[in-house]
């Protein structure tokens, strides 16, 4: 234990928290947008995975980072359109559709990977590009803080920026207002002439784009290759983070940081004499605990509300 504390309080650990939080944060923001519109996006896991692969393949073929990232985003949008079509038009259960999407991505990525790289496990034979890391002038010269905040992948900064942008979008723009109205009381939106389905389509597309960015980060930043099932449940963790963050961008950001912390912790603890399995369990156990604590709080709130009324 005494070995652990200095690690946790080191700047490199704080740096790595931000690094591992990035994909979870993208996915959590994606979860917020769709959830606000009243459509739960269980397919985030699969969307991220597919986007991660498409980022690698397209950047390898075009040798362009930008096209790689854009392809990943486009993949995310396309897959969420499929999800939207089946659940909103054909009225499939959205949870089952999301699960189907995940199963499809899990196998489909391996299929494409094999076609593109003749390998079913990892994409190292592809010369894919990586989104560069940048050090921010001024900030990088601040002691401590500079080491934590500077020198990250561009997408990490984009994810942080997105927290702010999504907040603006949801709370300050007409579309954001309509998304919230549709998710909360579709009847009310309908009664003033807002098309519920159209808004939900748009929300899912934005959600897909964000998950696409998360996928791009996984394979073009976090690591520089694609490997099968590399998202490892981050899409699901994001759903929990969104629930814990009560659907607000800032709250969700904090929840994502907690999970990122757990993830980073499991990374550094591998060097200690803690059984690897326990270390690997940390993010998931944290998520379950978080979910339970959140649910208990919600429950108490409802009970209190009822008691106060009587």
């Amino acid at each position: 234990m005494e070995n652990l504390l200095p690690i946790i309080f080191s700047t490199s650990f704080a740096y790595s928290v931000l690094r591992v939080t990035t994909p979870i944060l993208f996915a959590s923001l994606a979860a917020i947008i769709s959830d606000k519109a009243g459509v739960i996006n269980i397919g985030l896991e699969g969307i991220m995975l597919f986007a991660a692969l498409m980022g690698v393949i397209s950047s390898a073929f075009t040798q362009s980072v930008l096209i790689g990232v854009l392809c990943a985003v486009a993949t995310g949008v396309l897959l969420s359109l499929v999800l939207a079509y089946f659940s909103l038009n054909l009225k499939s259960d959205i949870i089952l559709t999301g699960i189907a999407l995940n199963l499809f991505s899990s196998g489909g990525t391996v299929f494409l990977l094999f076609l593109a790289a003749q390998d079913k496990g990892i994409s190292v034979s592809l010369q894919s590009k990586v989104v560069p890391e940048i050090s921010i002038p001024l900030i990088n010269s601040i002691p401590v803080l500079g080491e934590i905040l500077s020198g990250h992948n561009i997408l990490t900064y984009v994810s942080l920026l997105c927290v702010f942008l999504i907040h603006l979008f949801l709370y300050k723009t007409p579309l954001g207002l309509r998304i919230r109205a549709v998710g909360e009381t579709p009847n009310a939106a309908d009664s003033v002439g807002i098309s519920v389905r159209r808004i939900q389509y748009m929300a899912l597309m934005i959600s897909g784009a964000l998950a696409g960015l998360g996928g791009a980060y996984m394979s073009m930043g976090y690591v520089s290759w694609f490997s099968r099932d590399m998202t490892a449940g981050r899409g699901f963790i994001a759903l929990a983070a969104e629930a814990m963050g009560r659907g607000t961008p800032l709250g969700t950001f904090l929840a994502a940081i907690i999970f990122g912390f757990a993830d980073a912790l499991s990374n550094v603890m591998q060097s200690l004499r803690v059984p690897a399995e326990f270390v690997q369990m940390i993010p998931y156990v944290t998520t379950i605990l978080g979910l339970v604590i959140y649910s208990i709080k919600q429950n108490n709130k409802i009970k209190k509300y009822r008691r106060n009324q009587v």
């Binding site: 499809f104 299929f111 339970v292």
Partner: protein, 357 residues
């Protein structure tokens, strides 16, 4: 013809159309990516029947599919989206391996005890999301998805710290004693006596769902929870036991699979049977009677795809597209709904006409 018959017929047709559309898509993909599409297609579709050994592969794979399909059926019939089948299957395998390696029991009793223990552990794992849901209304979908990973790592740790064979050359347990393993029942294949356990569980699950008061209460809760409550059914209890039973069946499945198909415990990742169970349950319309057919079909696809991948240049994962399409089309309420509606109206009108005439 009664309207009910039309509905049954319609469900069958819908299933076939969905499968057909999915297969067509797979065909297109194969045509698109393969340099030897005819070979690929032949080995995919007829490969599984081309030898006893390969057909054996299909049956071998059907066995775990049956268990995971049944587990999902039970939970889905109670309208519980609990994905714990995956984790329960895994820990069931670990628990059975533990009994198999650690205890010396007579041949008849040894696998029985191991499988039973696997089931109990699986049931306990299923209990958790159910309990959290009833007690605090925690979403069982998210909690069970997370719990699956916990099952994996905790199971792996337990295995390593109790029954790991340091000389195995991989992460695995000691080799199971002869007494613990399920016997092979057909020469030339690896089909094992777990097949009988699977058949037994199809019957048991069916009986439970449709012939016992608990199964009845479970189905009514799933169909209409308000109605179940109004009728006096304790729906909270139903929600919990549906998930415990789901976990139990998956756990038994994991135990059976490990003792039937392996020499030692060597799963270092979740085997994926839990999610396969969802495909099977959807194909089988959550009815245990249809689970073996659906499980066999899925096993046939998988084995066929594997053969195709070995013989030709098409990777086996092409079937992930088939599976996804089947799930969403069958789950789609509007898929072919207009056509059915027309038929029912026509039927009703014909009936009226007969009466009046």
């Amino acid at each position: 013809m009664s309207n009910k018959k039309i509905e049954t017929q319609f469900e069958i047709i819908r299933t076939f159309v969905a499968i057909l559309m999915a297969m067509t898509l797979a065909l297109l993909i194969i045509l698109l990516v393969s340099k030897q599409p005819v070979d690929a297609l032949t080995s995919f579709l007829t490969g599984p029947f081309s030898s006893i050994r390969r057909f054996g592969n299909v049956i071998e794979m059907t066995i775990p599919f049956v268990f995971s399909g049944l587990a999902v059926c039970v939970m889905f019939q109670a309208k519980q989206f609990n994905m714990i089948g995956e984790g329960a299957f895994y820990v069931g395998g670990v628990a059975a391996s533990f009994i198999a390696v650690k205890f010396l029991l007579p041949a008849g009793i040894h696998p029985f005890a191991a499988i039973l223990f696997g089931g109990v552990v699986g049931g306990l794992v299923g209990l958790l999301p159910g309990f959290l849901k009833v007690k605090w209304n925690a979403n069982e979908l998210v909690s069970s998805l997370m719990l699956n990973y916990v099952c994996l790592y905790l199971g792996l740790y337990m295995m390593k710290s109790t029954i790991r064979d340091p000389n195995a050359g991989m992460i695995g347990s000691y080799v199971f004693p002869e007494t613990a393993m399920l016997k092979k029942i057909l020469a030339g294949t690896r089909i094992h006596s777990g097949l009988f356990i699977a058949i037994l569980f199809i019957a048991l699950t069916y009986l439970f769902m449709y012939r016992t008061k608990w199964g009845y209460a479970l189905r009514m809760t799933g169909l209409n929870e308000s109605f179940a409550k109004y009728s006096g059914i304790n729906t909270k209890r139903v929600i919990i036991y549906s998930q415990v039973i789901g976990g139990l069946i998956a756990g038994i499945g994991g135990a059976t699979e490990i003792l039937g198909m392996y020499q030692r415990f060597q799963w270092s990742a979740l085997p994926g049977y839990g999610f396969d169970g969802i495909i099977i349950a959807i194909l089988a319309r959550n009815n245990p009677i249809f689970v073996p057919i659906a499980a066999f079909f899925l096993a046939y696809l998988r084995v066929g795809a594997d053969i195709m991948a070995r013989m030709t240049d098409v990777p086996s994962e092409v079937i992930s597209a088939i599976q996804a399409i089947i799930i969403v089309l069958i789950a789609a309420k509007r898929f072919l709904a207009k056509w059915q509606h027309k038929r029912i109206i026509k039927n009703s009108q014909e009936k009226l006409a007969v009466k009046e005439g």
